[in-house]
Symmetry: C2
Subunit: 217 residues, 2 copies
DNA sequence: AAATAAATTTAGACAAGCCTAAAAATATTT
DNA sequence: AAATATTTTTAGGCTTGTCTAAATTTATTT
């Protein structure tokens, strides 16, 4: 069984290493967890000992198969709890994260599976992030940041990757909501900004905004 | 904010000190928490520092008003989660305790209150124990162990005060379930055992068993 | 390629929470 | 009331997870 601190490190490495599972730098982990690089080095050594990460001095860290499985399971729990808080307990969009951050560490296999059943096996959480099933498999159709879509592609807004109030208010102004239909008209080379149609209406958004809107085709 | 260990100490002292809030011995706390007396002394000093307990060397420990409030709040959370696990997630009677033991430490005032609302403000948990409201007040009508009832009295089984599997299996054999109607026919002076009627059917149970069945009239 | 800067690791320290063993205080016997 | 037993506390130590400061390695400039 892993400690709370270990779980948080695995989750951070998972988050930082992306789909290709690249090695993650010590400083990046330190920043993600708001701790010091020396603390990270200490913990990475323990995780190496437990065969949860691959680590070579000065060369960064990546998850082993076992470490990856644990991280995905924590992500699963986090996102299921977010759905529970939003759908069942009537939390607001931006209130769920901190509580889910605590709930994700509860240890009870039965609890997760019964919660999943109770929620009718949701595939996405309130932020539009995919929820892995109990075997750690993500739903086939992924959401991705709007900025990653080519000109011409169409999709639906399934979430955001930021819940900064100013950002959410700006989306409101642009009339971008969960479920809005969105089409990429043109990508501006110069500043990576986008011409898009939102629910049929043309508008223009910056790359900063496009990075944080999640789309599912 | 209190640590997990601190919360468990407060809960243990609350449990041991009963309604009259008597001082509790160091050894009793150590036994309750399955730890050593010396560890208890250490922690009690910290809790004294934080004004959560009253403590005089060699004279035992009692909760301050503040400590009592915190303990009651943890009990509230524990029992609400038990109801959630049983009623919503379809856990078995004897599976809820260990998970609730973890969930009770989640810190989010909003979570507790929304959970309470979601569960429609239950007054008793699956073991028949009363659930304090958000002001820390217990419901007026308490359940009591079967053994405390006089010959002739009638009531309903609202819980048990043990969740040892052998005990629960034995109850099953006696056809005693949550909600069973029970009437005390006779109390045997000699060994404190009881003649009872369970759902109309006469049977005989030992004092050991009668101590652990909770009845509400 | 040498010098400088940045990233990472090591060394040593600290708080929390636990432990064992020994000392001190309290309770119980005789 | 003295002797013995029990309870509780103290002293010192260990592990986990953190920190700062210094040393080392890698990356970037000049």
């Amino acid at each position: 069984m892993n400690t709370l601190a270990e779980e948080n490190y695995l989750k951070a490495i998972f988050k930082l290493s992306g789909k290709q599972k690249e090695a993650v730098s010590t400083n990046a982990i330190a920043e993600e967890l708001e701790t010091k690089a020396s603390s990270v080095t200490d913990m990475i050594k323990k995780l190496t000992e437990k065969k949860l990460v691959n680590y070579q001095k000065y060369q960064g860290t990546s998850l082993t198969k076992k470490g990856h499985e644990i991280a995905v399971h924590i992500v699963r729990k986090h996102r299921l709890w977010e759905v529970f808080l939003l759908k069942k307990l009537k939390f607001q969009w931006d209130e769920v994260h901190d509580v889910a951050e605590q709930l994700e560490h509860i240890k009870s296999p039965k609890l997760v599976e019964h919660l999943d059943t109770f929620l009718c096996f949701p595939q996405y959480d309130p932020h539009g992030d995919p929820i892995p099933n109990k075997n750690g498999e993500f739903p086939k159709s992924f959401s991705a940041p709007l900025i990653d879509f080519a000109a011409g592609s169409k999709g639906k807004v399934v979430g955001v990757s930021q819940d900064n109030p100013a950002f959410l208010q700006y989306l409101d102004k642009l009339e971008i909501q969960l479920g809005s239909k969105i089409q990429v008209i043109e990508k501006i080379e110069f500043d990576q900004s986008l011409e898009v149609k939102i629910n049929g209406k043309a508008t223009h958004i910056s790359s900063e905004v496009a990075k944080n809107i999640l789309i599912k085709q």
